[in-house]
């Protein structure tokens, strides 16, 4: 019985195994990125970047159809362009990051829609919008694995400045010129992970894998390192449960995985030991000192 529920879907069907591995790769890269986004109060930046990527991917689709390489490249170019332009404008004018990001991503989105309408064809963007986690081919799996690997390596290199850029940017600026570069590279990592995510979850829901596990992890751990580990664990848990629920109940897979992450988030919000609601309502008697 337990075997039928939990194991046999993966044992019997290759597409389920591929989906599982793909989502694991996704969550391993996305977890630390999401944690940093959340801690820097940039949780909504992922959403903006997802909109910025969409037109790039659509243009890639227009040029060479449903090609992994073209859509990935298009998404990367559009996303990184928006990230870098916004970062440069923020640091050289009086605009704050939210304002400059908002202006560039909406320009990117409008340009993308214009380009698509020029072509006049009614293309099926469902794949781009909602992903196809149950149809991951070898190339896509490899891409996801590459993205996770690169993300972890780059984060390892810039962990110290990135952390300092979050806690005390003024200090980082006074001891090093690397702050701006760190920030831009980080934004590009966000883009890379979203581009990976849209193959599995679609552009818009890719943000879910980035943010939900990270935000849920905030309720479980105090330090940044443990928080990243917890986020990866929660993401993996959401992948497994989402895949199983969607298999047994016949629901769309991508959204079900994100919904599972949502359930885990609400659970964490309620009972997490760091600021969870139950802990706040019943904190226990105050301590002696």
């Amino acid at each position: 019985m337990l075997y039928d529920v939990f194991i046999s879907p993966f044992a019997e069907f290759e597409f389920m195994r591929r989906a599982l591995i793909g989502s694991f790769a996704l969550t391993i890269g996305a977890a630390p990125i999401g944690v940093f986004l959340m801690l820097r109060r940039m949780s909504l930046v992922g959403d903006a970047m997802a909109h910025a990527i969409l037109p790039g991917a659509a243009v890639g689709y227009l040029i060479s159809g449903l090609s992994l390489a073209a859509m990935t490249a298009g998404g990367l170019v559009a996303g990184c362009l928006v990230a870098i332009l916004a970062g440069v404008v923020t640091r050289n004018t009086l605009l704050r990051e939210d304002a400059s990001l908002a202006s560039f991503y909406i320009i990117s989105l409008a340009a993308g829609v214009t380009l698509v309408s020029l072509r006049g064809s009614n293309i099926d963007l469902l794949h781009v919008l909602f992903g196809s986690v149950l149809a991951l081919d070898d190339d896509t799996l490899l891409l996801l694995a590459w993205i996770a690997t690169i993300t972890l390596l780059v984060l390892a290199v810039m962990f110290r400045p990135l952390l300092l850029e979050c806690v005390d940017p003024g200090f980082l600026r006074s001891v090093s010129r690397g702050g701006t570069v760190t920030h831009l590279v980080f934004l590009c990592l966000v883009v890379v992970n979203l581009v990976g995510g849209f193959h599995a979850m679609g552009t818009l829901l890719a943000v879910g894998m980035l943010m939900l596990p990270a935000i849920a992890a905030r309720f479980w751990c105090a330090g940044v390192g443990p928080m990243i580990a917890a986020a990866a664990f929660i993401g993996a848990l959401a992948s497994i449960s989402g895949l199983l629920v969607s298999y047994h109940a016949g629901l769309a897979t991508g959204p079900t995985i994100i919904l599972s992450a949502g359930v885990l988030y609400i659970f964490s919000l309620l009972v997490g030991p760091h600021g969870g609601l139950v802990r706040q309502w019943a904190p226990g008697r105050h301590l002696e000192a």
Partner: protein, 246 residues
């Protein structure tokens, strides 16, 4: 006499409006200099210029033996995100960033130095506390511990004792005295003349330009203070380009 910093006809400001006008002078190496003056006199602006956050509108700043990024600088309001989950120990250890770089190991020697710095500011026992739990005074002590670790020959402090109690102020003044005896150059922006007269041998009195730069008792005499107080704070929105010769 060797100097640590030299300002030559230095003008610093924002959007072409000068906050400090035509400042010339030298800070000798090992000096303990107070920078005083009314609000809006350009004191913080001067420190920002020295650490290179602000580029001069005109004139130059020469730094001897230190790059702008090697100067230890405590800004007036550190833009620290206090909700960020790092501990006192971790934040103090960021003082080693320049030295350790991206991958430099924090070994036993470094750990001892971090612990010593925390002990020197009287925060032993707070190592594992997250920075969000500190009071204002404890926060300032922690930032001084980081300055200690930076081990810089030039240290700039922007109003380090504002909203800090007497006990903490006198502890931190002790650290400044220690830096002075180690022949480091210390420049501090201060408002408390009593502290300045007692602890700082030399003073630069600013009021958007140099009013006096001298031994403290001369710089802070009644005439100079009156002159500083008459400073015009607002800049003229219709000002012409400055033609004053260097």
């Amino acid at each position: 006499m060797t100097f640590a910093l030299r300002f030559s006809d230095l003008t610093l400001g924002y959007e072409r409006h000068p906050a400090i006008h035509h400042l010339t002078g030298e800070v000798p190496a090992g000096d303990l200099l107070a920078v005083c003056g009314p609000n809006g006199a350009g004191k913080s602006t001067l420190l920002k210029g020295i650490v290179g956050i602000l580029s001069p509108l005109d004139g130059t700043i020469e730094r001897v033996g230190v790059g702008p990024r090697e100067i230890a600088y405590l800004p007036q309001a550190a833009d620290i995100d206090r909700s960020f989950p790092v501990t006192v120990y971790e934040l103090v250890s960021t003082g080693l960033l320049r030295e350790a770089g991206l991958f430099g190991r924090i070994g036993r020697g470094e750990r001892t130095r971090i612990e010593d710095a925390i002990a020197a500011v009287g925060l032993t026992g707070f190592e594992g506390r997250s920075i969000g739990t500190l009071s204002g005074g404890q926060m300032q002590r922690m930032l001084f511990a980081r300055l200690l670790l930076q081990d810089s020959p030039v240290i700039l402090l922007d109003e380090p004792f504002t909203a800090i109690d007497d006990k903490t102020t006198s502890d931190l003044l002790g650290l400044i005295g220690r830096w002075h005896s180690e022949k480091r150059t210390v420049i501090a922006v201060l408002h408390d003349f009593e502290v300045v007269r007692k602890h700082f041998p030399r003073t630069l009195l600013l009021a958007r330009e140099k009013v006096a730069w001298d031994a403290t008792q001369n710089a802070l005499n009644g005439e100079n203070l009156l002159k500083a107080r008459r400073m015009v704070e607002a800049f003229d929105t219709a000002a012409h380009a400055c033609e004053r010769a260097a």
